[in-house]
Symmetry: C2
Subunit: 479 residues, 2 copies
């Protein structure tokens, strides 16, 4: 048996930088759904902070990816693929179609004046042709752009989903990430609360597939029309609506006094500010109806949504909470976010209705709603609840020639098994002991040994690794 | 039956820009494998050229993605997903593990001085922190970076694949694209030609899965050691090797005279230049051996590879062609590229051995080889050969309440079918005629009608669309 003793090995490598153990933490971090997309994280991902520049003067290249970004080595990639497969499967159940967009977009698509965090942290720059471009911070504007572009070629409603990477740039980056992946589901052309009801079913179906129960998480629901009604009560001008929404969304992050000050500075009376703050504390639809009156759309929409929840069978998962506003400027109606009931994590996902986004792009409006579901908080939650599945590698066969002369037959055998659909790792120049360990490590089903004495008779030796069964078989008859 | 007559429709939309029909052309375009990644294309993709800036002065946003980039509406996305699934399936058969990297990398990773097109067209810029970053033009340097970073935690050989977007920036962009997707397979830690033999099997397996035969395409193989041997014959200094490779790779694109001039300008004698050009015209291994002598590595490696081809069973697919050099600076040994035998298209994919890349990053070298396979030329070829599969949408059930009052039961039925794993499109506020047309368009298997007279008895009406069979069933018994 040929042992390849002079094989180069990573063990002998001079490492340039200490290799920080970031594997199991890969998908956790600082991102959630649409709003507060990019808020600070507790723990993970500090690599990249170690090296202040990427290339040293002596030409040694930093082995870390750019600050705030992640590599996905195989273990992390398996986790990501598994999660994305869940996103895709739920999207399939809901009969949504997958779409995609360039990660690089025109900056104009994201320029909004409401003071959102997301537009203050754009990863933007000028390209060599002098165009303002941006690594997109969110996907909704691209979706809207494509809906407009498709124009007459599609019939409404549209039900689209996408999974894509989103970026932010902010200076204080200690332990925070600059990219995450986000699953988006969006419905265009349905003005009724049915659309929100469908989206929330998708989120619940996902949780259920992941083994998460309604005791683990809930979905808080409100409507921006609640705030609209309050603004109407105090005769506050329409153009302040978005700004007020973006300010009161910060209630969890800033003190009540700071929020009040910001609201006052937009020109609101202290009475109106008080009215707004009071309404936001409501957690009961009955109370909301008492305060706003029964005629307002906010109450009717929310009642309808809760009635749908009952029919779909996810009442346990949702609750009314007037403090939910979400941070994106363009929401106009129902807004929602999923949260862990222990209150340890930030929002798991978030979304809402945005019926007036298309007109901000100069087009005619189409009613729309959707959500964004990040790849970070959900993985933190799954870890906490010990719900991550076994992510080990799995292959069908290892083919191993016991002698260098048998590399020919080994090639034919591996080739033919692959043509039959089996995943085959062809191993050479190793000791048998290494091969056995390797087989265990990669969960191989079978080990196929090509040895001289068997091959003289056209046979190979097969070991079934789960049963330790061992037998000889004609090479041509291997299945 | 409730008809939602006031529904907003895209038909009434004021379109901002003419909607160019770019659907079927989406995956075609100007990219191939590793080398000549970004060469000019014949036809497709001209959208984005129409609008010189992305946002007009009046706030109307351009509905096209940034110049040279693509949206993937559902039809295009299905094609892309299908193609990527083929890449993934072949990678699985070959027992490769999937990895991924940030699309944004440090510029230092791609700075090479050999005059490659790929490094002259970097989509690079300075981030807000003053770091030089780049939308990666290729993936190999990221792979190498991760191999170094992983260090002791992995044992060689490593067999990794990835599918990712790559970017270039060049000014003369008429009809050329600035991004494409690329499938990469790479083996680290195998110094023998076995690695190349495995990679070529992967390419052949892919072609076979796609229905492409060895009469449609071939794989040209050579080795940079051929050029190395010629340089040695003329005692040309070692440091000119890479530069010479990059120059002679342009033989297809530039005239022979231009190439000769460039070679002379590096300091080569006209005798040596003649020797190089002569060797590059060889198409027979026997001839090559005559010219170089039998002792040289180039000949031994190539003979070995052809013997492997025989054992794997893909001799029909490969041929020796000394003119294959590939354009990337870092190749050191065997190089190969797949081509269409009609000679209409550019290279379908390309790759080779790069045993000395890691040391350019300041690390210890590990023998490595790999290939890049773009998403453009292969789709052009599949179209030409009429091999693209049916890409239409397919869903299981449409649930349609015939009356608005029945939205509750419709919700429960849709919800319960989805929990059973069926993809369900819940349709409302449409005429029955529209629903039938819709069912046809999306290839629904069944139409489930929730009507008053049936529902009073707890029943729904089911139409199986393929057989036109129609029956009533208890709602709770729907499977």
């Amino acid at each position: 048996m040929a042992a390849w003793s002079s094989s180069p090995s990573l063990r002998h490598l001079l490492l340039l930088r200490p290799c920080l153990p970031l594997r199991p933490a890969c998908l956790t971090g600082s991102f959630t759904g649409r709003h507060r997309l990019f808020s600070a994280s507790s723990s993970t991902l500090t690599h990249g902070d170690a090296a202040s520049t990427h290339a040293d003067a002596d030409g040694i290249v930093d082995v870390n990816p750019p600050r705030g970004t992640r590599d996905f080595p195989p273990e992390d990639m398996r986790l990501r693929t598994w999660l994305f497969d869940q996103f895709r499967e739920v999207s399939r159940l809901m009969a949504f179609e997958e779409v995609d967009f360039p990660v690089l977009e025109s900056e104009a698509l994201f320029i909004r004046k409401a003071g959102e965090e997301i537009t203050q942290q754009l990863y933007n720059f000028e390209d060599k042709g002098g165009r303002r471009v941006v690594l997109r911070p969110e996907i909704t504007p691209s979706l809207a752009r494509l809906v407009i572009k498709q124009g007459k070629s599609v019939s409404l409603p549209l039900k689209w989903f996408t999974i894509g990477q989103c970026w932010r740039y902010e200076r204080m980056t200690r332990g925070r990430r600059r990219e995450h992946y986000q699953w988006n589901m969006d419905i265009f052309g349905v003005p009724k609360v049915r659309a929100e009801a469908e989206l929330i079913q998708a989120i619940v179906l996902l949780f259920q597939r992941l083994g998460i129960t309604s005791s683990d998480v809930g979905i808080r629901v409100s409507s921006r029309k609640v705030l609209q009604a309050v603004l109407n009560m105090y005769s506050i001008p329409e153009h302040l609506f978005t700004e007020v929404c973006v300010i009161v969304d910060k209630l969890g992050k800033m003190t009540r006094e700071e929020i009040e000050k910001e609201l006052i500075s937009t020109g609101l009376s202290s009475e109106a500010v008080q009215g707004i703050i009071d309404v936001l504390s409501l957690k009961s639809l009955v109370k909301l109806e008492e305060v706003l009156g029964s005629g307002v759309e906010a109450v009717a929409d929310l009642k309808k949504l809760f009635s749908f929840a009952d029919q779909y069978g996810y009442t346990d998962w949702i609750c009314f909470d007037a403090s939910v506003v979400r941070g994106l400027a363009y929401y106009t109606g129902i807004v929602f976010e999923a949260f862990d009931r222990e209150g340890k994590l930030r929002a798991i996902c978030g979304g809402g209705r945005y019926d007036r986004l298309l007109s901000t792009f100069g087009s005619e409006d189409i009613p729309a709603c959707g959500f964004g579901f990040g790849d970070a908080v959900i993985v933190e939650l799954l870890k906490e609840k010990d719900l991550l599945p076994d992510m080990s590698r799995q292959i069908d066969d290892i083919v191993f020639p016991l002698d260098e002369e048998l590399e020919g037959p080994a090639s034919s055998i591996a080739s033919s098994l692959r043509k039959k659909g089996r995943s085959v790792d062809l191993v050479e120049d190793k000791r048998l002991k290494w091969v056995f360990k390797h087989a265990e490590r990669i969960n191989a089903s079978r080990l196929i040994l090509v040895g001289n004495s068997e091959w003289e008779r056209g046979m190979v030796r097969v070991k079934v690794l789960s049963t330790r069964e061992e037998f000889e078989v004609k090479a041509g008859e291997l299945e």
